[in-house]
Subunit: 342 residues, 3 copies
């Protein structure tokens, strides 16, 4: 259950992921997608292991996806829900994590409204030397790696159904449209897509895409495959981002943005940045549309686009999410550690 | 895993159920009741399949019953709870259902406070051609088929312990007492009991049983077994309904009815329609009492009636609920579809 | 699956537990701790059995521990949560328990904010003759037996790693510090520790440790092993309790106590009764510290004590909790009953 190309205990951020790691995830997820097409959809890979979902910020959709992935790897699952928890009794987040560690947790899937919590817990697990892996399932406006990785899987398999690789993405133009500033999904995608050689075009109103945004992504990337430096472009209008795009990713628009005066109204946003059939005619004829969900129909994209099986990859993203999360839990579960786990 | 007498993908309403279908459910549930009496109570019938409980209206009791039924068929279970969900984020109900479909759901058990939601989702599943079955676990004041089917099972096995059939119900007098107007349980029971040839007597205060209520049940029923037309009688007093009854079903009285001025008080209701040992002396000596639960003791029926094992079938209804729900999931799971499922 | 030294259906209180029973639990938990160290951590002991968690008072930590214990015994688990339940619909607690009984529950794990609820349900199960075991997971300020039993296991294995027995506790001095008056953990521990021959020293401010407290523990105990009568000492200061102590158990301090004017402030409490490195220097050099969790760091004990692996047994308590709860469910599940279960 070990993989030569994989030596990560934790998946907290994609900032330092190397192309070989994306490729390993892609291959592993492909084999699990094959498992999911069989009549018996289970493998015993994590039998006897405990996967704990520590969702400090509630989420039904992402938690269900991780839960199903863990079940199909034959793991036992514990769900921590903050509502009825020790947190309201004054326990620190680290102590909560350590309690689940002491119960026998092998892998922790962590969501928290504050950026940095999964990373803090991961560091503590390393300090304790317990060999427990931490998977960031969304932390504040920081990152949401498993979403970006299922997006990557969806893009590559859309481009090449037989033998998809991350190299299929090289030189492809991908537009990401919406509330970039507050999106952990966009941040994780920026790391993965540019590392695989895609050209990323961000489109949003200036309030949701300040110039300073790019600074964080200037970190030099080791490019053993001869890739160019990260190619990211900013647009304050939709048209140039969509022009000849191979893929368009719409981001979810949070209604709170209006009370924060970052947006005049949903209708105003829709008029300038909502995706419609007419507008995507600027894209390449083979264009496909992605959305991490849940969608506000008629705001981020029109209902007819979302429901068009020729155009929309939204359902496929959800389906791929289970296979990709199986791959992540499987890979993390196979890392040898200092004796506590095997 | 297919059954010649069963070709339904969905169980949303009992309005068009044929006697042969009730008979198939009865027989299948009998065999599962036998399984449940064994030391090892599991069968691998739904191994690798995903049963998703979409309970938009919360319920612990019915959800637990479906959960246990699915576990004993070896299915994997996902629970959707609306509290911490995407619904509050603006997602439509259909999109929520489609998300769980895309994750790999094979059977959906749906409860919603609004009538028609399970039916809408079932139609969408058919439109998509995905072969996913929808089971209505209670929608508004419309129907609650699995409750009526476990009631049917409980009645038939009470009449004939060795070889129960639905024909045992022919000509039997069954009183349903309580808040008929708002009861999805009563509606589903009206379809099933009359289709099996029982005579149903409804008893309630006029505010909870308007004359117009009956109109919906005049639909002609194909009666291959020579059954008469549906026999339903209305009473605004308790006595004539109980007179010589073989069974009495008490319905749950919702306290909200008083704030809606449909009832003066619980005490007032109890005085006219509450079941007591004295009152049921009008029934046949072999009479048995049913209640779908949860009960307001001393309101719908007196505590001593509820706890008398000679009279009350309330516990047996709950026990039979697991076997009947296993039968429903099993039968739905075995319907051949257009290639997506087997 | 039966054990000669075990004939209890229910574990509601430790008041009448005999030393041989503690010894049986210790031995059984030791063998499960060995199971948990294997790669495959499951045993089929409760296959096909249903363990229902009836947590009327919410708790994530204790419920997770019981859930994992039940899963590792291969039981099926139902979780009852009061939020979305029939209770708000007027159902009595006994009727809720009987509903889960009728569904097929074999063992019930019950937590309730009111003392006596588990005992009431246990008596009802006995009256019905259904052979269903009840385990008290904390009832009001009464008892929390599984916590005291995991504490016992932790103490004995700390004293004797190779062949721990309850006799290792004889003559040991154990200080329990904190809100004794309101603590169900302290009450259960008082029964178990004194029955095993330990000397228990209670330390708390007078408002949280009235003299009358001891009255309940004067019940004579049958002492076949030549043990002395229960040895319990009260202190209104910390120092005499800690003097030469072998173990110190800190109890959780509930913030509500201040609004009840039982405590001036957390800081005031900490200044007089908070455990610090300096204060525990009065204890024996081999002293170890326990806390049932969740902890208020810096109130009941200082952060450096809690995190010192040489001193703190807090994590080990959590780990042992799973093995001890497996032992309890296993032992209860093996009691022969009057034919309903095997």
């Amino acid at each position: 259950m070990t993989n030569a190309a994989w030596d990560r205990h934790h998946i907290v951020s994609l900032a330092d992921f190397r192309p070989v790691e994306y490729e390993t995830i892609l291959e592993t997820a492909l084999s699990f997608r094959e498992v999911l097409s069989r009549r018996t959809k289970k493998v015993p890979a994590l039998q006897g292991q405990v996967v704990t979902n520590l969702f400090f910020e509630p989420s039904t959709r992402t938690r269900s996806s991780f839960e199903l992935a863990a079940k199909r790897l034959s793991a036992d699952i514990l769900n921590f829900s903050p509502g009825s928890s020790s947190l309201s009794k004054g326990e620190t987040i680290l102590d909560t994590a350590k309690t689940y560690l002491a119960m026998g947790t092998n892998l922790m899937v962590i969501r928290h409204a504050q950026a940095g919590v999964p990373s803090t817990i991961a560091r503590e697990m390393d300090r304790l030397g317990v060999g427990v892996g931490v998977l960031n399932a969304g932390d504040g406006q920081h990152e949401h790696p498993s979403q970006a990785l299922l997006d990557l899987f969806t893009l590559c398999t859309a481009l090449n159904q037989q033998t998809p690789t991350i190299y299929d993405l090289q030189g492809k133009k991908i537009a990401i449209v919406g509330d970039i500033l507050h999106s952990r999904v966009a941040r994780s995608n920026l790391w993965s897509l540019t590392a695989c050689g895609a050209e990323v075009h961000l489109a949003a109103p200036p309030t949701l895409l300040p110039k300073a945004f790019l600074a964080a992504f200037q970190t030099p990337l080791e490019m053993p495959q001869g890739f160019l430096k990260r190619q990211i472009y900013l647009h304050w209008q939709l048209a140039p981002a969509l022009q000849d795009a191979d893929f368009v990713m719409a981001l979810r628009l949070q209604r709170e943005r209006m009370s924060e005066h970052l947006l005049p109204s949903l209708r105003e946003y829709q008029r300038s940045f909502g995706l419609t059939r007419d507008r995507i005619s600027r894209c390449r004829p083979t264009v496909k549309i992605l959305h991490p969900g849940p969608t506000n129909r008629g705001v981020e994209l029109s209902s007819d686009l979302m429901d068009d099986p020729e155009l929309s990859l939204v359902s496929r993203q959800v389906t791929n999410g289970v296979a990709v999360r199986m791959a992540l839990l499987y890979l993390m579960g196979g890392v040898e550690s200092n004796g506590v786990r095997e």
